[in-house]
Amino acid sequence: MMDNEYNTQLDNDENNLLNKLKTIWINEKFAPNLLDYQNEIISNVMEKIEEKEALCTEGIQNKSHQFTADIYEMEIERLKYIVKCYLRLRIKKIDQFYTSVLKESQSNTELLSQHELKYTERYKSYMDEYFKKTILSSLHKDHSTMSPDHYLEPQLNTWVFCKPKENLGEYLIDEDTIDFKKTSIYFVKYRPIKDLVQAGRMDLI
């Protein structure tokens, strides 16, 4: 009854660009690993931001449009904030997990944006060079490399809160069968639902 109006609005909203942008930010926020770069959404949003910025500058010439321009500028600020949060989270994950990120990016070309790939490669070369200069080059050749356990890996065995985008039916999570329903929120181990999140069928919250 009373919340019907509310819910229809939320449903309508689900597919608009703003909500898609918010979703990829929040998913990236709570996923322990780096998720695939959402190129389409980000470039769409950036394009819209540029259009609107142009509109605002035009508005400045015309005093009566200043009021409207200010409102659009507020929207732009809000959008930029989300994009920045999203990209920042990703760079921070890349800094942490650069070796596994680079390795995964070889088989998964969706993982990194073109600029992120460049960033990661350069970051790795600076890190390698740094450790070589400070310690590795001073050691016997048997010890002059990093072993895999010297690198950080994302902790996939962590727990997350998630919300299915649709009724997903039953999934086997460890020994339990869970019927993932759209109306519920689940507190679940990340690893078994990782692919559902990546596929956009489950959102983290």
């Binding site: 919340d3 509310y6 409207t68 507020m74 996939l156 929120i185």
Partner: protein
């Protein structure tokens, strides 16, 4: 890294600011086209729907009055409060982000809300009630655990983002901690957490290795 702990209260409020709300403007302006849709046109005295952030900003400039959402009426909230008290282990259905929305409206447009003081204290009561119910459910849940049961999935309903965020850090870090102890019990390799199959059998040796019971719990109304 501090970014990975959770969302800040400011960020949760920011997310809630995209909620759609009705205002009555006192100015004239063409429709606005945002990424989330089209809003307007704005005609004096004609109610129009806009995102909350715009409503609050216009209100500050005295350009509109805000129409509180229907659920923010005294009668409805009182009903929900009674309901919240009646059921012991579930939550009543309130909009996502009702906490942030009501906080923002109560501070930015108190004069637009009927029974504003009663509503303010009612919302506080609902919040406290929900908080203590949540704490109790989790406590009961933990106390009902048997030794040596593996940790598994839990299911919730009608749980707002702010409420999740409040329990998130203690919940996640607590469970991760238990999990680590469990895996250490079975696995001498503590050098990293990347082992694919965590062995789920248990040692009986320490109370610390007691784990969380596996059944789904359902917080439905």
């Amino acid at each position: 890294m501090e970014e990975n702990i959770g969302l800040t209260p400011n960020q949760i409020e920011f997310l809630a600011e995209d909620t759609i709300i009705t205002i009555v403007p006192n100015f004239k302006m063409e429709s606005l086209i945002f990424l989330s849709g089209e809003y307007g046109p704005f005609i004096p005295s004609f109610p129009v729907k806009v995102p909350l952030w715009l409503a609050v900003s216009l209100k500050k400039k005295k350009k509109c009055n805000i129409v509180p959402p229907e659920w923010m009426s005294f009668d409805y909230l009182e009903q929900q409060y009674i309901q919240e008290n009646r059921v012991t282990d579930g939550f009543v259905d309130l909009p996502d982000n009702f906490i942030e929305i009501s906080t923002m409206l109560l501070s930015s447009c108190p004069e637009d809300i009927n029974d504003v003081n009663k509503i303010r204290s009612l919302i506080e009561d609902i919040l406290n009630r929900r908080q203590s119910k949540l704490n109790n459910s989790l406590m009961n849940h933990l106390q009902s655990l048997k030794d040596n049961e593996p940790i598994s999935t839990m299911e919730f309903k009608n749980f707002s983002m702010m409420e999740i965020n409040r329990v998130r850090s203690s919940f996640v870090s607590g469970i991760n901690h238990l999990y680590k102890i469990q895996s250490l019990d079975n696995n001498d390799n503590n050098s990293n957490n990347n082992n694919n199959n965590i062995n789920r059998t248990q040692s009986n040796s320490q109370t610390a290795s007691r784990s969380i019971y596996s059944n789904t719990i359902n917080f439905s109304k």
